[in-house]
Point group: D2
Chain length 434, copies 4
């Protein structure tokens, strides 16, 4: 399996690349520097690079920062080495890109997806935390790659390189999608709605860690991602002095509190799992004022898109009814969403039968159930709806701490191993007959 | 004071009359027998008797029983001696009547109001309860004069008799209103809206008992009756099996429960006292069915009509919002209402200065604060709005138990004493100059 | 297959038996006549009959009617032909019985369970309803066999007869449990806790209808019954006049309403399905009284006993907290419970492989998922915990209406067919070697 | 009236003094500089000055800032001219002081009370705001004298000066209390509980503005201050991932929301006005986390101390019950309190009869109803309980904006006029016989 040998030969470079990404984390719609590096490298390797509105439906982007923040981040990226021309192509936070290569041999269209954004987490400065000890910790206060997307971006570029190096073996077309804004599930919908994966036959994505085994394991397919909606409801009423004329007030705090409670009374669904959580409630300004403002931040989830739709529809009506209870106004704003999706069984089993005999992994797991939500499901659903197959894999690796924690880190051995596996799958599925 | 002597001479007759009323209690809009007796007596005394739509605005009647009940009660009344011709004039439950007498001397228009209905209370059969011991207990199971309206009707007829006997002393016009349906405050609005008291200069009503003193006391005016609305809200949803498909149900129980709680969160009012009470909640049919029905019975009150209107408006909107919370329907039905009113100070003080020196009462109290609601306030407000004066008095008497209790009874000495006082006041105010 | 032929030959008798049961429905703990008939027949067939505290743990019985009701039902049963001696053995509503037969050949202990109680449903008198048309409708107003337990009891006796007729073929021991009070899941726990099935190797129960196919189908095993608790919470406070001194009241209506709402906010469980339903809420006596009484009837369910325990524990604490909110008392009373259970796969598959080749059924279904709760799960869990195997089958039959409806009826062909199948299984499993 | 002439002669000094206080606002328990200036001046005038635990009961202080803040504020005060020795006597934020003078002539003990703290309000920098235009705006960012306590402190010192200048006319004893922390009603209770006014015969306090008339008016007594409690309830639960294992969380947000709603359902009180307001609710950290923290800030009020006690007791129990509902902990912390109090009628009428004939004011108003709460009521109640009399007056002045607003300012003519009136009253009441 020369992919693995080749990839092992690139290991130092991959580690260097990952640590550079790690030191320069960028959150959703501000991945200017990250995208600039990726796009530059893809072009160098001979890929056609699509960016901006070619790969993003602007109207489907969620939680986009304000103009001022976008500008500051763009300037920061340039200061840190991003190509100003490319940054300009990402104006308005239209970050992310897709590298495309058509191979000589006719064949299938294969798509890969790597998410590239970081989190709003302040990195642990303790010397016990390897990035801090070795000096590649985040140089952006309050931001951190605490979910391994630095690794994802690195693997994506490594696959691009391996494939380009062996393009004579390949068939069909390869599309490598570098998606912005997976955290908070705000980005995938926008990229998918651009139509970029509408012609895809085989789709592969995945995540570092999360598997039941770690180092040296591969999960060939997952199932169980929950569809989700992230929503804010802002209630606005009328203040009044609580002692002097309470009856003049329109109480937005009580509306928000009632909405929070009512939302948790939405019926269980016989069709499968559902979730509701009001994670934040902020209301009122002073103890002696009938509160005129109230905000709840909540999320619904469902085992299927239908169940999540049921939850979200109930929740929205309840927010409006809670506003009516206290005669206040309410504004409901979407803050993220993901659909549900399961891996295509046939493709997953095929991957298992390909990888298992290689003796590259200590554990090759055919399938694992996951919980939580992933906006990669938009990609998978779209591909499956159009007749293609899609898998979401788990790339086992030993982790220093749980995902989203300030001392998260992972064993970088996962980088070359995963890149080699994916390159091999690109070759395999591109060449598939029928 | 010949009124008092004359009245004392009628005492045995008055007691007999009151006990007959007591034995034949009739609830709101079914006072066929009671009205028949009153109207017959009034005509005998030379009064013009107005009935039915002459003295009732049909559209303002509340909680009218269904046709079948009305018919049964009418037949019961005839069986118990009511005049079928008069009962026919009360068709549809248009009970109550007004006796009018124009006197030779020009003068003021004076109106009196006596309420005549009974309660849905089952009378105490114990021999310790005087009506049961003496055999004049209710012969209508589940109904009882437990609030003294049997006494009110008796006093009203006694006044009619005293006045008629001395019509030469009288001036102006006298209107004696016998009002149906005071319990639940469902009747006064209808009688007032007929216009029957629109030309009244002096208005007198009152209640047996309730004063701080009892036997031998008179309160000349009261203040503090609260305006009130009685409302039902019926929620109707969609049932479903709570285990098999809970999400298909639309939960009317939760809507009703939420309405009950939300109503109690209506803001206090800086303008004065308010009240809210959800007195009854009934919802659901079976433990394992998502409940499709829910009923709340509630009442609002306010120190002023404005405050009560605020309460009722908030409550209605909240009921509709609670329905919206659970996507169910709601029907809100008025079940009674009373406005607020205070006695006219000038008239009350004049009564005090007339009665106090007589040495008829041990205590003559100028004014007392009351709580609760009385639909007599509709009469008082209407008279006051048209430039007249109105008082609500309390006729002190020793009571065997609290009002609305199954062993309620009172010292019948109050009957002749009160009748004499009112007759004297009719003479006085009818003859008032200016 | 002589069991089927023999059973078909008994068909008219079975129909007659079932219709007699149907005409005399008896609800939980009042199955005096039903039990009397069953016990008499079992003795006649040579079974040892255990009754009363031999087969019921009195302390685990739920929703037992009061003494007076029990006496009336016992008298009714005697009037309708029950054996007074047997009725006396059921004193206090200790209904139900178990027939036991030890066979000559050593072998396994096999247990069967048939539930025998009726529902509080008023039977449809319309001629379109076959029982009413043919004159075997319920002669007990408000009670009806609307769930097929008349059929279950009939099948149980038919199996007893078939087995007794062929006791030479049989091995080991047979226990036929006729369980009272399955509706509301109030009876199984009590019978199981008597220890009667603690030594059982193979356990079979099931239900008429409910399968995806009807006439001529058999489901060999089911899975998915939810564990459940049925609970009542009664809140008691202090009444007061809502206008005069509302602050003196302790509001049990608001406590009950709050409990209802709060219960529906219990968290979803990541371990599997859960349910909560407050099916009934009744509170308050009069509109103008701060309500001093409040009752909620609710049920929890869980895919596993652990999940249901979580739900029930949360619910109970919330009821107590809701009482504390309004400073009222609360009494929580269990009204039924069932555990969850799945059929034993090995035994189910064995049944499938036995029945499928017989060509007796049009459809033999290996396994079907069910919802809802069944207190048979207590039997199944107990047997499985003690190392035995257990299945719950579905006996397909065409039904005239949904279960628990007033025009429920079923195709009586199911009676002999099911009896024959079960008799065959008794022979098979009793004779099983190791 | 030489007090008025003398006071007018001091006008420029008073304005200067007030503007110095205005420029250096200090909030509750940090009035180090303000107290230092007052104490220094009082000593200079010959008053005995009591400070620290002589005039404050430490245990009754509420909302005391943390040590660090106290130290920073003390250092700021010293930097701005406070006497370090005096600041040291206020260690721990024991601010405020009382000046006492015993006069030669025997007589009554008269006490005055002036509150000296500022608000957490950021002052309006616009030139349309006079303090900003003239350069005496707050030099402490975020703090402002927006309620006139700079004027109160100035008047207090002016009275001290006028009285000292005429001590030969005076009789008995004068105590001038400079109270810290009136805003949020956190300070009076502590000063009163030190016992400093336990021997007082006549007590006078009041407020700039608030009257129905402004310039040139005086309200001799007020009534209607509501008793109040300010409370925080902090709920703490257990976080968990809302998607992965929601059942592991203990939801403090729902507890806080429920408490907010339940508090508003506390019954109205037939004894008089009450209020409840949850002014602030803050809960939760992230959308997808079951919230483990929840805070509500609320206040109760009552027309009498008894009614407020009823409200506060209900509210505290409800907070604990809401915590129990969701199995979380709660900590309830007092954040301020005031009792209710009305002025002593006899003393108020005496003041009216003294001031009205002077022709110093355009309007002398005998009595005015106020709303809201004032912790001066603790002083008044204590004096009245010990047999003394107490009034709360309103010193009319034209105001630039409502109290507590960032552009609040007042016509400084009120300073000398009020000082003269109070000095005159000190003379009058100290010399009163009997």
């Amino acid at each position: 399996m020369n992919y693995y040998e080749e990839a092992m030969g690139m290991k130092e470079e991959l580690i260097h690349q990952r640590r550079d990404f790690h030191a320069h984390p960028e959150t959703a719609w501000t991945e200017f520097r990250t995208t600039s590096i990726i796009a530059t490298e893809l072009e160098k390797l001979g890929y056609e690079v699509k960016m901006g509105s070619e790969v993003l439906d602007d109207s489907a982007r969620m939680l986009v920062p304000d103009e001022k923040t976008l500008k500051q981040c763009a300037q920061r990226a340039i200061k840190e080495g991003a190509n100003p021309v490319l940054v300009d192509r990402m104006k308005g936070g239209m970050t992310g890109c897709v590298g495309i290569m058509h191979f000589a041999k006719p064949g299938k269209t294969v798509a890969l997806r790597f998410d590239i954004d970081s989190l709003f987490v302040a990195e642990d400065p303790a010397p016990s935390h390897r990035p801090s000890a070795l000096g590649f910790q985040s140089c952006h206060p309050g931001l951190m790659h605490a979910c391994g997307h630095d690794g994802h971006a690195t693997i994506g570029l490594a696959v691009a390189r391996l494939v380009a190096a062996h393009k004579d073996r390949m068939a069909g077309t390869l599309k490598i999608c570098f998606q912005p804004g997976e955290e908070g599930v705000v980005g995938a919908k926008s990229m998918v709605q651009s139509g970029i994966v509408d012609d895809v036959d085989y789709f592969i994505s995945g995540h570092i860690g999360l598997g039941d085994y770690n180092d040296g394991s591969l999960v060939c397919m997952t199932k169980g991602f929950l569809a989700t909606d992230k929503l804010d409801a802002e209630f606005s009423g009328v203040p009044s002095h609580a002692g002097a004329e309470p009856e003049k007030g329109k109480n937005a705090l009580l509306a928000a509190a009632q909405a929070a409670i009512s939302l948790h009374t939405i019926s269980r669904h016989s069709g499968g799992s559902s979730r509701i959580n009001v994670g934040v409630l902020e209301a009122g300004t002073g103890r002696n004022v009938v509160p005129a403002n109230g905000l709840i931040k909540f999320e619904t989830r469902g085992e299927t898109a239908e169940i999540n739709d049921f939850m979200a529809k109930e929740a929205k009506r309840m927010c409006r009814a809670a506003a009516m209870l206290y005669d206040v106004d309410v504004k409901i704003t979407p803050r993220g969403s993901a659909t549900s999706s399961n891996s295509s069984r046939e493709m997953g089993e095929e991957i298992y039968s390909l990888v298992e005999p290689l003796n590259v992994y200590q554990h090759v797991v055919k399938e694992q159930k996951v919980s939580g939500s992933e906006d990669c499901c938009y990609f998978m659903s779209r591909v499956q709806e159009h007749g293609g197959q899609a898998v979401y894999m788990l790339y086992g690796t030993k982790e220093a701490a749980g995902h989203h924690q300030s001392d998260f880190d992972f064993n970088e051995d996962v980088l070359p191993r995963t890149a080699a596996t994916i390159a091999m799958l690109v070759e395999h599925f591109g060449n598939k007959e029928e």
